[in-house]
C-alpha cells in the first residue's frame, strides 16, 4: 500500500511542495507566519475553483482555454447588473447570477464541441475570443472601481483572524470555503457517480464509451456546463477579492491553471487525474508565484522556476510511463 502511494503523482508533487516550503521557510521564517499562509489560501481560492473545472475537461480528454473569458464576462455582467439595480443583498445572489451566466456560456462551448466535433482546444480558443469580444463590445470595456455591497461584505468576511507584528488584523478569507465545497462536489461526481465514470471513460477511449452505452454528447454538455458554472463562481469570488471589475483581467492566465492541473498528475491526453492532485498542483503554483519573492528570487525568475517544475513534473511521469510500457512489451514478446 505504501509502495503504491509512493508511486503516485500526487506523492511526487506533495514532496516537491513540502521541500519547496521548507526551503523557503528556512531562508525566510516569514513564510510560516499565519498571515502568509492566509494570503496563500486567498491566492489559491480562485485558481483552485478554476482548476476543478479544468480538471474535469482534461480527464475527458479535452482542453478548455475559455474559462477565464467566461469568468470575467460572467463577473463583469453580474457586477454591472447588480450595481444598476442598487442591489445590496447577500453575495449568494452575485455568485448565483455569475454562475448562471457562466452556465449559458459553457453550454455554448458544449454545443459547438458536440455538434461540429472539432477539437476542444480549437473550439474554446474561438469562444474565448468570442466571449471577451462580446463583453467588450456589447457590455462595456470600462474598468468599474466598485462592486455590489454583498461582494464587499463577503470580501471582508474572515473565518479566523490574526494580528500581524505591525498590528494590522488579517484573516483567512471565507472564499476558501467555496473552494472546499466545490472540490468536495467535484470529487464526489468524479468518483462515485456514473456520469463521473463516464467522463473518465470518454477520456480513456471515446469509442469504447459509446459502445458501452454512455451518452457521450450528454456527458459533454454536462462537462462544459459545469465548467461554465465553476468559471462563473470563480469569477464572482475574484471580483470580490479585488473589489473591482476590470474586463481585461484574467484572460491570459488560463494556462497557469491548466499547468497546475497537469502538474497535479492529470494526463493531458485524458482518462487520468484526481481532485487531490489538482489541489496539490494549484498549491505548488501558488507558492511559486507568491513566495519565491520572500527569499529574494526576482519575479522574472518565478516564471523560470515554474517552467522547470512543470517540465520535470510532467516529464517524470511520462518517462515512468514509457519505461513501464517498455517493460510490458518486453514481457509480452515472450
Amino acid at each position: 500500500m505504501l509502495k503504491k502511494i509512493i508511486k503516485t503523482n500526487e506523492f511526487f508533487v506533495a514532496m516537491i511542495l513540502i521541500v519547496l516550503c521548507l526551503f523557503i521557510g528556512i531562508l525566510n521564517p516569514v513564510f510560516f507566519t499565519l498571515q502568509n499562509l492566509f494570503d496563500l489560501c486567498r491566492s489559491a481560492t480562485v485558481m483552485g475553483i478554476f482548476a476543478m473545472g479544468a480538471l474535469i475537461v482534461i480527464i475527458s480528454g479535452g482542453v478548455d482555454v475559455s474559462f477565464t473569458a467566461i469568468a470575467i464576462s460572467a463577473m463583469y455582467i453580474t457586477v454591472k447588473i447588480l450595481l444598476a439595480l442598487n442591489f445590496t443583498g447577500t453575495v449568494v445572489v452575485a455568485i448565483a447570477l455569475s454562475a448562471l451566466i457562466g452556465l449559458i456560456m459553457g453550454l455554448i462551448n458544449a454545443a459547438i464541441i458536440a455538434f461540429f466535433k472539432i477539437p476542444t482546444l480549437i473550439a474554446t480558443l474561438g469562444t474565448q475570443s468570442l466571449f471577451q469580444g462580446f463583453l467588450l463590445f456589447f457590455i462595456g470595456s470600462k474598468y468599474i472601481n466598485n462592486v455590489p455591497d454583498g461582494m464587499l461584505r463577503f470580501a471582508r468576511t474572515n473565518l479566523v483572524t490574526t494580528t500581524t507584528s505591525s498590528g494590522a488584523i488579517t484573516g483567512l478569507q471565507a472564499g476558501i470555503l467555496i473552494l472546499i465545497g466545490v472540490a468536495i462536489i467535484v470529487w464526489f461526481i468524479l468518483r462515485f457517480t456514473m456520469i463521473g465514470r463516464g467522463i473518465y471513460a470518454i477520456g480513456g477511449s471515446r469509442e469504447a464509451a459509446e459502445r458501452a452505452g454512455f451518452n457521450v454528447v450528454a456527458i459533454q454538455f454536462f462537462i462544459y456546463g459545469l465548467v461554465g458554472i465553476l468559471a462563473g463562481i470563480g469569477g464572482a469570488v475574484f471580483g470580490s477579492h479585488y473589489k473591482q471589475a476590470n474586463p481585461f483581467d484574467l484572460v491570459g492566465t488560463e494556462l497557469n491553471t491548466i499547468a497546475a492541473v497537469v502538474l497535479g498528475g492529470a494526463l493531458i491526453t485524458g482518462g487520468k487525474g484526481t481532485v487531490f492532485g489538482a489541489i496539490l498542483g494549484v498549491s505548488l503554483v501558488v507558492v511559486i508565484n507568491n513566495s519565491l519573492v520572500l527569499i529574494g528570487v526576482p519575479s522574472e525568475w518565478q516564471k523560470v522556476v515554474l517552467g522547470i517544475i512543470l517540465i520535470i513534473g510532467a516529464g517524470i511521469p511520462a518517462y515512468k510511463n514509457m519505461m513501464a510500457e517498455k517493460r510490458l512489451k518486453a514481457n509480452l514478446s515472450e
Binding site: 462515485f192 456514473m194 473518465y200 477511449s205 452505452g213 482518462g271 514481457n331 514478446s333 515472450e334
Partner: protein, 499 residues
C-alpha cells in the same frame, strides 16, 4: 437431444454501392453450439457480424433471435436479446481497473446513477470466477496482455446475460498457450448453454473447437456442415474455391558446403537462451520454432542486435562480427521483419511507395541532396512488381491493402536495404490462407536468389512448407535439428508440444 435454435438468420443480403457484400445468406446457431465462420478477407464475415450487431441494416432478409423476428436490429436490441460481440480491439478502457472494466457496462445498462466500488469489485470477481479465471482486480487494463484483455471482455459480455458471444478473430494476437486457455473458456460456456460464434481464418483452431462450421466466399455461404465433415484441405478448398497444394522448399543438395553465410557459436543471453550454435548458408531457409518462452524471439532479437547476447560468436561470411545494435546488424547485412507489422513495421496512413523506400531514402538523393523523383519511382515500381504487391497505385495508403500485401510492403522495405540475411518473425500472422501461400512463395524466391532466411514461427504447416531445416528450441536451448522433409505435421506438433 433435439437442439434448440437460438439465432436464425434468413436470406440476408447486403450491398454497398452496388457491390454485393452478402447474398442470400441463411444459417442457424443452436443453444450451446460453437459455430465457426471462416472465410478470406472480403468474404463478408465482418458485414455479417455488423448486421447481427445492428450496426448495418440488411437490404433483405430477417433475423430471428429466440423466436423473436427482426427486420432490422438496433445495437440495443442485440444486447437486450443476449447477443454480445467481442471486437478485435475489445472496446475496453485502458485507464480503468479490471474490476471497473468488467462491471461498468452492466451497471450502466441497469441505469445506475451512482457507482459503488465494493459492488463493482464483487460483480467483477464473480464474473471472473464464472469462467474460472483469477486476476488482480485493481490492475489497470492498459497494462495487461492481450489474452487477459480478452478474458476481461468475455467476462463483461457474460454479465450482460449473453446467450451468444460472437468473437471476431479472437486468437490473432494470442500465443498457443493462451489460445488453449481461451478454448477451455469457450467449452466452459458451452456447458452452460451459451453459444459462441467463432470467426477466424486459423483452420487448425477451427478444427479443434467447432461443433459446426460454415464458410463464406465472396458474400455467399458456400458450405455449412457438421465440423466432423471438415479437414484442413476441404476448408481451404471452400475458402479459396480451388485446391492449394503447397510444395515444400527444395534447395540444392550441395548447399551446405563451403563458408556459411551466418555462423552462430555458443551464443548465450542469461535468462533467454544459452549455448546456441547453428549455421545458415546462402539459399537456405531455416525455421526456428519452440513454445512460448523457449527463447525463439529473444534469439532473433539478439541476432538483430536489439537485445544483444552476452557471450558467444556471430560469424558472417567467415568474419567474426559484433552486433550490439540494430544499426550494427544492418551494416552486417541482416534485416529483421517484426511480428507486429502494424505497430512496428509500417506507416499505415502513408502511401505504399513511401513506406517501401522509408529505410533507403538516402540512396535516392541527387547531387544537391534532394530526392531524385525518377529514381524513386523506378525503385518503388521494381518492388511492387518484384513482390507482386496488389494495388493500382503506389500512392494508396498502406492501410488500403490486405494483410498479405501489407506484409509484402514490410518485406520490400527491408529488402530495399539489400540484406544478405533476412530474419522473419511470424511472417504470416494475421494473413489469410490465399495470401499466405503467395507470401511463402515470395520467401522461397528470395532464398533462391541467394539470401539466407531465418523464419521464426510456431505455425507447423508453414515451417514444413517454407523451411529446408528446422531448429527446435526448448527452455532456451536448441534441442533438436532436422530436415523439414524428415518429419510430418503430426510428428512436429508432438515435438513442439513436448517442450
Amino acid at each position: 437431444m433435439m437442439a434448440e435454435e437460438f439465432l436464425k438468420v434468413n436470406n440476408i443480403s447486403k450491398s454497398f454501392a452496388g457491390v454485393h457484400a452478402l447474398q442470400n445468406v441463411s444459417f442457424t446457431i443452436n443453444t450451446g453450439e460453437i459455430h465457426c465462420l471462416i472465410g478470406e478477407n472480403g468474404s463478408g464475415k465482418s458485414t455479417m457480424i455488423k448486421i447481427i450487431a445492428g450496426v448495418y441494416e440488411p437490404d433483405e432478409g430477417e433475423i430471428i433471435i429466440a423466436g423473436k423476428k427482426f427486420k432490422r436490429l438496433h445495437p440495443i436490441d442485440t444486447i437486450r436479446e443476449g447477443i454480445q460481440i467481442i471486437y478485435q480491439d475489445f472496446s475496453l478502457f485502458p485507464n480503468f481497473t479490471v474490476a471497473e472494466n468488467i462491471a461498468l457496462n452492466s451497471q450502466l445498462s441497469e441505469n445506475k446513477k451512482l457507482v459503488n466500488m465494493r459492488e463493482v469489485r464483487r460483480i467483477a470477481r464473480e464474473a471472473l470466477e464464472s469462467i474460472n479465471v483469477s486476476m488482480d482486480l485493481d490492475m489497470l487494463v492498459g497494462q495487461m496482455s492481450v489474452a487477459d484483455k480478452q478474458l476481461i471482455a468475455i467476462s463483461r459480455a457474460l454479465l450482460q446475460n449473453a446467450r451468444l458471444i460472437i468473437m471476431d478473430e479472437p486468437t490473432t494476437a494470442l500465443t498457443n498457450r493462451e489460445v488453449k486457455s481461451l478454448f477451455k473458456v469457450i467449452n466452459n460456456l458451452k456447458d452452460k448453454g451459451i453459444s459462441t460464434m467463432f470467426v477466424s481464418h486459423k483452420l487448425n483452431e477451427v478444427l479443434e473447437i467447432a461443433d459446426r462450421t460454415m464458410v463464406f466466399r465472396n458474400g455467399v455461404k458456400v458450405i455449412d456442415a457438421d465440423a466432423k465433415e471438415f479437414d484442413q484441405a476441404k476448408m481451404v478448398y471452400y475458402m479459396t474455391g480451388h485446391n492449394i497444394e503447397e510444395e515444400s522448399y527444395k534447395c540444392p543438395d550441395n548447399l551446405r558446403e563451403g563458408t556459411p553465410l551466418l555462423s552462430v557459436k555458443s551464443l548465450t543471453s542469461t535468462g533467454n537462451f544459452r549455448d546456441i550454435s547453428f549455421d545458415l548458408f546462402s539459399q537456405e531457409i531455416v525455421g526456428i520454432t519452440g513454445l512460448l518462452g523457449s527463447g525463439r524471439t529473444e534469439l532473433a532479437l539478439a541476432l538483430f542486435g536489439i537485445n544483444p547476447a552476452e557471450s558467444g560468436e556471430i560469424i558472417i561470411n567467415g568474419e567474426k562480427v559484433r552486433i550490439n545494435s540494430a544499426s550494427d546488424a544492418l551494416k552486417c547485412g541482416i534485416g529483421y521483419v517484426p511480428e507486429d507489422r502494424l505497430t512496428e513495421g509500417l506507416f499505415l496512413e502513408r502511401p505504399i511507395g513511401q513506406n517501401i523506400i522509408a529505410t533507403t531514402i538516402d540512396k535516392l538523393l541527387n547531387k544537391i541532396r534532394l530526392i531524385n523523383q525518377q529514381k524513386m519511382e523506378n525503385e518503388i515500381k521494381n518492388w511492387i512488381d518484384g513482390l507482386t504487391i496488389k494495388t493500382n497505385s503506389a500512392q494508396n495508403p498502406v492501410k488500403s491493402l490486405s494483410g498479405g500485401n501489407q506484409q509484402r510492403v514490410v518485406l520490400a522495405k527491408w529488402l530495399a536495404s539489400n540484406p544478405r540475411i533476412l530474419i522473419l518473425n511470424g511472417p504470416t500472422v494475421g494473413v489469410d490462407i490465399g495470401s499466405k501461400t503467395e507470401l511463402h512463395e515470395t520467401i522461397k524466391n528470395l532464398a533462391r536468389q541467394g539470401l539466407g532466411v531465418i523464419v521464426v514461427s510456431d505455425d507447423i504447416p508453414e515451417l514444413l512448407h517454407v523451411c529446408n531445416r528446422i531448429l527446435l528450441m526448448r527452455e532456451g536451448k536448441i534441442v533438436n535439428e532436422f530436415c523439414a522433409s524428415e518429419v510430418n505435421e503430426d510428428e512436429l506438433a508432438v515435438m513442439l508440444a513436448e517442450g
